[in-house]
C-alpha cells in the first residue's frame, strides 16, 4: 500500500474574488515508503501549493488525500497527528527559527508531540547527527549561525519528529555547492536509515536526476509528466516548452548525438555520460 495517495486534488485560490486562480488542477499521485519522489516545475506551477495539501495545511477544493489509506480530513484530531508523520520543510526554513537555543528549537516539534523529556533529548541528538550538527552548539542562539547552518537546524527540527514522509520544498535554494551536497546527503541518509519516503521539490534538474527514483512534472497546476528520470528526461522538447531544462548531462548527450556520436537514449546523469564517453574512446587507451 502506498504511504500517501492524492486523488484528483484541485485547489482554487481566493475563490470568488478578482484574484481567483486554480493553483492545483486535478493531480493524482502515490508515494511508496522508502521512495524518493522528485517534483519539478516552473515557478508558479503549483508545486508549493500542492505539497501543502499533503500534510493538511490546505484543504483541497476538490479531491482527497489518503495517508496510509485514511482520508486525512476525516478527523480533526488525526490531522494534528498527521503533521508529525508527514514532515514538511518549507522554502528557506531558517526563517521559522524562534527559540532561545538551538536545542529548544529542534525540540519544538517533539515537545508538541507530547513526548517525555528523555525521548525529546534522544530525538534532538539523533536529528542533529543526521544533519551534521555538533552538540556543542545546542546552547547557542539559532539566530547567530550562518545561513547554511540555520537551515540544518530547521531541517533537524522536522527530522526530530521522525516523519514517515519527509517533504522538502527547495531545500538547497541559496546554498553554495558544498552546502547543497551535504544537505542532500543528509536527506538521503535519513531516508536510508529510517525507510521514510521523501518528496523533493526542486529547480535543479541535475539534483533530481541523480537522486530521485521517480519524477513528476507540474505545469500550470497540472500533472504534465511522470515516470522514472529516464522516462521524464526523454521528453526534452516538452520540458523546454514548459520553461524547464534537462540535466546538463542530457543536454550534452543530445548535442553530441546531433553531431553523429553514437550514444544511447536516456542519458541523464553526469556519471553515466562519463562512462559512455570513456567506452567510446576505449580504443584510444584508458581515460
Amino acid at each position: 500500500m502506498p504511504i500517501l495517495r492524492a486523488e484528483h486534488l484541485t485547489y482554487i485560490y481566493s475563490q470568488g474574488t478578482p484574484f481567483q486562480k486554480t493553483a492545483v488542477n486535478d493531480i493524482s499521485l502515490e508515494i511508496e515508503a522508502g521512495e524518493l519522489l522528485g517534483v519539478i516545475g516552473h515557478t508558479g506551477s503549483g508545486k508549493s501549493t500542492f505539497i501543502q495539501h499533503l500534510n493538511g495545511l490546505l484543504k483541497p477544493s476538490a479531491g482527497t488525500v489518503y495517508f496510509e489509506g485514511r482520508d486525512i480530513h476525516a478527523d480533526k484530531a488525526l490531522l494534528r497527528q498527521l503533521r508529525f508523520q508527514v514532515g514538511l520543510v518549507f522554502q528557506y526554513p531558517e526563517y521559522q527559527l524562534f527559540e532561545e537555543t538551538v536545542f529548544a528549537d529542534i525540540a519544538f516539534g517533539p515537545r508538541n508531540m507530547g513526548l517525555d523529556e528523555a525521548e525529546v533529548r534522544e530525538r534532538v541528538s539523533e536529528a542533529a547527527a543526521f544533519v551534521g550538527l555538533d552538540g556543542k552548539i545546542f546552547d547557542t542562539s539559532p539566530l547567530e549561525h550562518s545561513g547554511g547552518q540555520k537551515r540544518r537546524i530547521a531541517l533537524a527540527g522536522v527530522i526530530a519528529m521522525r516523519p514517515r514522509l519527509l517533504i522538502l520544498d527547495e531545500p538547497t535554494a541559496g546554498l553554495d555547492p558544498a552546502g547543497r551536497e551535504s544537505i542532500l546527503g543528509n536527506i538521503l541518509d535519513y531516508r536510508d536509515r529510517s525507510g521514510a519516503a521523501v518528496l523533493l521539490v526542486s529547480h535543479s534538474m541535475d539534483d533530481v536526476a541523480r537522486l530521485a527514483d521517480r519524477l513528476v512534472v507540474l505545469n500550470r497546476g497540472r500533472l504534465a509528466l511522470s515516470g522514472t528520470p529516464a522516462e521524464v528526461f526523454d521528453h526534452a522538447a516538452e520540458l523546454r516548452e514548459m520553461g524547464l531544462t534537462v540535466p546538463a548531462a542530457t543536454e550534452i548527450a543530445l548535442a553530441l548525438k546531433e553531431r553523429g556520436v553514437a550514444l544511447p537514449e536516456s542519458v541523464y546523469t553526469t556519471k553515466y555520460l562519463a562512462k559512455l564517453l570513456c567506452a567510446l574512446r576505449e580504443g584510444e587507451g584508458p581515460c
Binding site: Y13, S14, G16, T17, P18, F19, Q52, N55, L57, R80, R83, F84, G87, L88, V89, F90, P93, Y95, Q96, L97, F98, E99, F108, G109, N112, M113, L143, G157, V158, M161
Partner: protein
C-alpha cells in the same frame, strides 16, 4: 485564513473609479466622511448608503468583497451598537437592571453602526481602487503646500507608501511562518487563552526578525539608488486632472450640499 484579510489591498482594474486622479479620490473620501458626520437623519443616511452603493458599482467592486474586509472590525461594530443602545434619552421601552433601552437609543445605535460601516467601506473603496503608489503620490501633492511650513511631507508620504506596500507582504509572511510552525505541531486555533498567547511566540519572533531584516535590506537598496529624503524627484507619471475628475468633484459637492439641506428636514 489570513489571506482573507483585504485591509489596505489594491484590486487592479480599469473602471471609472480606478482611472480617477488619486487626489480626486482623496478629496472625495474627505468629502464623504464630512457628509457622514453631518448626516443626522434617516434620509441623509439613505443618501450616503446610495452614494456608496453607486460608487462601488462604478468601481465594479462587489459588495461581498467590500463587506468581507469588515470582518476584523465586527467586534467594534457590535460593541458600538450595544453601547449606543443604552445611551438614548426619552421614554424607556425596555428595562434591564440599571440599563434602559429607548426608541432614541435604538435609532442612535442603528445610525452609529451605519456610520462606521459606511466610513470603513468608503475608505476601503479608496484603497481597493487606488494603488498605494498613486495614493501616496496624491497625498503628497495635496499636502504639498505644507512643505512651506517645514512639514516633512515627502518623508511622510514615503513612510506611508512603505507601510502600505508591506501590509500584504507581512500578511503573506505571517501565513508562511504559521504554516511552518503548524507543520511542527504548533496549535494556533484551539486551547485556553494563555496557551494561545504562548503559541504566538513561535510566530512573532520570526516575524520581527524578518521585518528587521527586510527594513535593513530596503534601506540598503534605497541608498544604492541614492535616495535622499525630500530630494526633488521628477515623476514618471505626472498627475493630471481630467474632465471626469471635475465631474466627480462636482458630484461630491452636490452630495455635501444635499446632506446639509437634509439636516433641516
Amino acid at each position: 485564513m489570513l489571506k482573507n484579510i483585504t485591509l489596505g489591498q489594491y484590486f487592479p482594474g480599469d473602471s471609472v473609479v480606478h482611472r480617477l486622479d488619486p487626489r480626486t479620490k482623496l478629496l472625495w473620501l474627505a468629502g464623504y466622511i464630512t457628509a457622514l458626520f453631518l448626516a443626522n437623519n434617516a434620509w441623509a443616511y439613505a443618501l450616503m448608503l446610495a452614494v456608496l452603493i453607486g460608487e462601488s458599482a462604478a468601481a465594479s467592486i462587489r459588495p461581498k468583497t467590500l463587506l468581507s474586509g469588515m470582518k476584523p472590525l465586527m467586534f467594534i461594530v457590535v460593541f458600538t451598537a450595544v453601547v449606543n443602545l443604552f445611551y438614548g434619552t426619552g421614554e424607556p421601552l425596555l428595562k434591564i437592571w440599571v440599563f434602559t433601552v429607548t426608541a432614541d437609543g435604538i435609532r442612535r445605535s442603528v445610525f452609529m453602526v451605519l456610520r462606521i460601516l459606511l466610513l470603513v467601506c468608503g475608505a476601503f473603496l479608496l484603497t481597493y481602487t487606488t494603488s498605494p503608489l498613486a495614493l501616496t503620490d496624491g497625498l503628497e501633492r495635496l499636502l504639498g503646500p505644507l512643505k512651506k511650513l517645514r512639514v516633512p511631507v515627502s518623508e511622510l508620504a514615503m513612510m506611508m507608501s512603505i507601510a502600505l506596500r508591506f501590509i500584504p507582504t507581512l500578511i503573506e509572511e505571517t501565513d508562511k511562518i504559521m504554516n511552518a510552525q503548524r507543520s511542527r505541531g504548533a496549535n494556533f486555533d484551539t486551547g485556553k487563552l494563555t496557551e494561545r498567547a504562548k503559541a504566538l511566540v513561535p510566530l512573532l519572533v520570526p516575524l520581527f526578525v524578518g521585518s528587521f531584516r527586510r527594513a535593513d535590506e530596503l534601506a540598503t537598496a534605497m541608498e544604492c539608488r541614492c535616495y535622499v529624503p525630500g530630494g526633488n524627484r521628477t515623476r514618471m507619471k505626472v498627475l493630471k486632472f481630467a474632465r471626469r475628475d471635475v465631474l466627480a468633484l462636482a458630484l461630491c459637492a452636490a452630495m455635501l450640499a444635499a446632506v446639509v439641506l437634509l439636516r433641516r428636514v
